[in-house]
Symmetry: none
Subunit: 190 residues, 4 copies
């Protein structure tokens, strides 16, 4: 398998996500990863300085990707609750359709690598939801609680919801969407 430049980096990224999904961060072995990509272990070190750099770079790339995409879900002019719902649904769908990436990001937060990711990258990911929550609080629509608490609650509900949807192999219909969002909305609305 002779792939070129960027596509090889892409392959490394994908296979790493696969491994983390199946075996967690501790299961990422450079030799295994290389074999899955179809390259020599030493070739990995052409692209990344070491394992840590590989994980951090891939994490950063992933966070940037999903952050950019979810920003596009915010349409002007919608009522607050619907905007929040749109973002929520986007993330829920993303989580269901990109469960490996979602799993990667969740496991990342509890891995020792998380603290090594540049603050600006982390902030980028949190900015959209934080802005939304601030707006909701200013309009008196949601509980006046620390953003960290609110977004942790939302995030954890979403994570578990995605896991359960996937585990039970449910297709999301309109009713399901409403139900799932009601957990969030009811939890945080004032």
């Amino acid at each position: 398998m002779k792939l070129k430049d960027e596509s090889k980096k892409q392959a490394i990224l994908e296979k790493t996500i696969d491994i983390v999904f199946e075996k967690g961060f501790a299961g990422v072995k450079m030799a295994d990863l290389a074999r899955m990509v179809g390259i020599s272990p030493s070739t990995l070190y052409v692209y990344y300085r070491n394992k840590e750099d590989l994980i951090i770079s891939i994490s950063t790339e992933l966070i940037k990707n999903v952050s950019q995409r979810s920003n596009k879900e915010v349409k002007e002019g919608l009522p607050y609750k619907l905007t929040l719902k749109a973002v929520w649904l986007y993330w829920l769908n993303f989580g269901v359709n990109h469960s490996k990436e979602m799993s990667f990001l969740q496991q990342l937060k509890q891995s020792p690598y998380y603290k090594l990711i540049p603050r600006e990258i982390k902030d980028e990911k949190a900015k959209l939801i934080n802005d939304l929550l601030e707006l909701g609080k200013k309009e008196g629509l949601i509980k006046k609680v620390d953003n960290e608490v609110l977004s942790a609650v939302i995030g954890s509900i979403m994570g578990e919801t995605v896991k359960l949807i996937l585990a039970k192999n449910i297709k999301l219909n309109e009713n399901d969407n409403d139900l799932m969002f009601s957990f969030v909305w009811d939890a945080i609305k004032s």
Copy 2:
């Protein structure tokens, strides 16, 4: 250091929890653990067949302990919401006062060891809350949703809440209790 059987097993359990709290499951090294307990690495194999057996046994023991304790919190004759709140508060307090055990159980769920724990043990942990949720649904007080979904939501909110309380070093007062429980109740009530 001369310890009798059971107290040595207890020491192993405690030190393992300490390590998982500080470094996660990947940080549990048989040699380190033995040193912390004050015994030889080979002695660990007198008590447990191998590392997996050690982790599984300790996890099982821990789950049994906390399950038994929370059962005692259910008093007869209280209104439903208050019973649920009592259980919630018990767990919240437990999480705050036994943060290491709590952390262990949370990390366990995402570790490769979780799937190796006997189903009956996992069920035992879930039984109390499942019974409570069934009751609530029968009385029409909470959303008619799969118990797994509901308990996952409750569990995840609690986990994050405990984390935040500990991170911010907040003492729980009556108002905080009410606020935190409102997240849960508002989320699941019908």
Copy 3:
């Protein structure tokens, strides 16, 4: 080959010296060394924390050994020149009969490990000769030059002399001894 404790450490020491003699410090490979001693590479790490620790420990041991032995060569009551000659001859003989150890110590000085050896160990080795040189200067017998210069000159002459004796397979007789010492004495006498 099943050796016990101290004899195994001794075997590691000897084989390490052999390797340094034949291939220099850069040629010391943990796996090679282990094979030569007849143990597993990981067993080396039972005795030494890592390669650096192994080299430093062995160097320290060696320096201590030879320092102690040469101290015994100083007899009271001899004229200064003869005392110096006795020490010199002791070292020359030691160098010829323990050429591997000698080579080890010389190569050590130019290896990156030298700076990691505790100062007190290095001082111990230099103390005897420094004391002798100080005495010689006080009695007006040798050049009033920095001890470091003098001992470097003596040491370098000795090192080269030993090398040449070995290369040419010369047996030392009384005349040779006198000749070799004359290099040193003539160089430093005032």
Copy 4:
């Protein structure tokens, strides 16, 4: 960076000497060297078959350079001791002013590469001093000892002297010159 053949070879030579001075022969990494020269590692293989060839070629070049230069220091008609002193001083000055090259040549002698250098090149370096020593012996001025012994003594004293001068940052004045040379002369004179 566009360099012509010879100047690129010169750059490789200089940077190699720099590396050996700073980190020793074991510290010469083809990739590092290439980066310092401003070329690609593979370009090194356009100029040299492999690392060994590179080291040997550079060593040979260096030996030739310094041999040629010191030959010019021998003026006809001077008394023997002064001729020897002139050569000695030339080398001492060379060692102090070209400490990197000097260090390279000294380290070379103890590196595994030394035995791979053609005998004729080594002889070329020794020829001048050997001729001088032969002359001295014929005139009955210096000890009738093997040239190798004598030149090793002279060389080792010089090496240490240069090291000490550099370490102590001494400027050479007339007295110092005399003192240092006295070590040599006193050692070898008959």
